[in-house]
Amino acid sequence: MLDGRGLIRRRAGARLWLSGLWLALFVLAAVLAPLISPQDPLAQDLMLERLPPAWMAGSEPGYWLGTDSLGRDVLTRIIYGAQVALAVALVAGLATCLIGSALGLVAGFYRGWADRIISRIVDIWMAFPPVLFAILLIAVLGTGLSSVILAIVIIDWTRFCRVVRAETLNQSKMDYVHSAKVAGFTRLRTLLSEILPNVLPTIVALLTLEMGIAIIVEAILSFVNLSISTDQSTWGGMIAEGRTSIHQAWWVLVFPLIALFFTVLSFAQFGEGLRERFDPVLR
């Protein structure tokens, strides 16, 4: 009773472990920020402005990745920035996932007028350019972490809705859904026990992807100064500040960018890895 999954499992292993390791580091950094940060994230010292990273000439001990134009430690601010990124990823990701998936399941399984209404709203929603939509929403909702999260949910639920609906449609055609109907199970019961478990791997993969996307959207909003007040360090805000001094101090821009890049990449890869590992169908 072997089914050739051994090979695929091994490949999924490296992907899952590497991305999982980075995400574990990311979560630890966010949670333990006050304990592990070498400096105070807000302490400005104009005597120490634009110090290069530790391995370059002219660096100061204790400032591993250098300082920005106000003399704040880059490493410390990246660690504190992880807090905002984690909050956005978790809250916005989960809320988006719940709302979008629920609507997608309903539209794909019950069809009829529910499907027509939901699908038309999704079509209209997706016609808005997302970044402009986000900026518009923030202008209405006001800045702050909760507004950013709300804006992400309002914009991105359609991504889940569309994919989950398509997957639910596929599942609804399967013979076991047919058999459940013959056996006399209620529609809701069929949806929850026959369809949802088979759509779940897709939802999980999308969720991790969405967590990465939420971090990017937050960074974009920080970049245009529409996210969270400037005394809270965020990766997007650091990138925006670093941009102005890229020729004098590239490290202010590059290190938060690397943190952002690996985190978003890891979320996507982690989701794919989980799916390959646990999807019983392995499509």
Binding site: M174, D175, Y176, V182, G184, F185, P280
Partner: protein, 296 residues
């Protein structure tokens, strides 16, 4: 004698059009007997099975007729009651064992859920019944198989499990929709034998949908030959193979390959026979007036 399943004058059409899909179908199936529904693709044989089990696609509407299951007309009871009746008295053996089991759930609950949630059995009783039927269909190590996922089993094993699952609740009627078509030939024979044995032992009425006359000769007592949604011949298996009455039945029988003389026996159905059958159907349609307002 009135059958356990009695279909009378059943007509169906494509919703919103005049296209008839079933043409005044009459089928009688006494308790404990086996009837084959044969015909080519699109003749409506699967549709009859679906109508009996109440799972017709939305695009098909029943225009008139009766489907009596244990003397109750399924078309006259409210939908919820119909679901309950069918769930309690009938079961399905599906065509494709690879898609008929939920890939993300273990085998055990897929058999017992129906017993517990629909028929109200106690969990322990349902579990021991599941083991019993798995033994009956010769599944080795049934306790272990109950904990496996479908992808861990072969196609033949999965079809056995589906058969076990169909018989688990002791239904009075089973609709088998081409249950061997998706299997390879060596497994087909075992599965047919298994279905026959279980049917005889439990005294279940069996509606056997197939396009394979060889299968019919092994399993069925009576058969209905369908052409374009019309029953063109309703007869016993002995009489059919000895002397088919309708020209289409004769042509169908002549088209069956025989391994004694493979080259000579593979005859297509002659165009004249098709034309005659179509003319018969057209004449039938011309004479047909649906009873007003009997939308099912």
């Amino acid at each position: 004698m009135s059958g356990f399943l009695e279909i009378r004058g059943l007509s169906a059409r494509l919703a919103g059009t005049g296209q008839r899909l079933l043409r005044s179908v009459d089928i009688s199936l006494p308790a404990g007997s086996v009837r084959g529904l044969v015909g080519e693709s699109g003749a409506g044989k699967s549709m009859i099975g679906k109508a009996v089990l109440g799972v017709l696609p939305k695009a098909v509407e029943i225009v008139e007729g009766e489907i009596l299951l244990d003397e109750q007309d399924l078309l006259k009871v409210p939908p919820a009651e119909r679901r309950r009746l069918i769930g309690a008295k009938a079961a399905l053996i599906p065509q494709d064992p690879l898609t008929a089991l939920n890939p993300s759930r273990r085998i055990g609950p897929q058999i017992t859920d129906r017993l517990v949630d629909i028929l109200g059995w106690e969990k322990a009783r349902a579990a021991s019944r599941a083991l019993e039927v798995l033994v009956e269909v010769s599944i080795p190590e049934p306790e272990r198989v109950m904990r496996l996922y479908p992808h861990e089993l072969s196609g033949g094993m999965r079809q056995r499990i589906l058969i076990a699952s169909a018989f688990a609740a002791e239904p009075k009627l089973i609709v088998a929709d081409e249950p061997t078509t998706a299997l390879d030939v060596t497994v087909q024979k075992q599965i047919l034998k298994l279905i026959s044995q279980l049917q005889a032992r439990h005294g279940t009425a069996l509606l056997f949908v197939t396009h394979d006359l060889g299968v019919v000769s092994k399993v069925c007592d009576t058969l209905s030959v369908l052409y374009a949604g019309k029953v063109v011949e309703d007869t016993t298996v002995q009489r059919f193979f000895a002397a088919p009455q309708h020209p289409y039945s004769q042509a169908l029988l002549a088209a069956t390959p025989r391994h004694t003389d493979p080259a000579a026996s593979l005859q297509p159905v002659p165009q004249a026979v098709i034309d005659a059958a179509m003319a018969e159907v057209a004449a039938d349609d011309a004479a047909w007036r649906p009873q007003g307002g009997a939308h099912g």
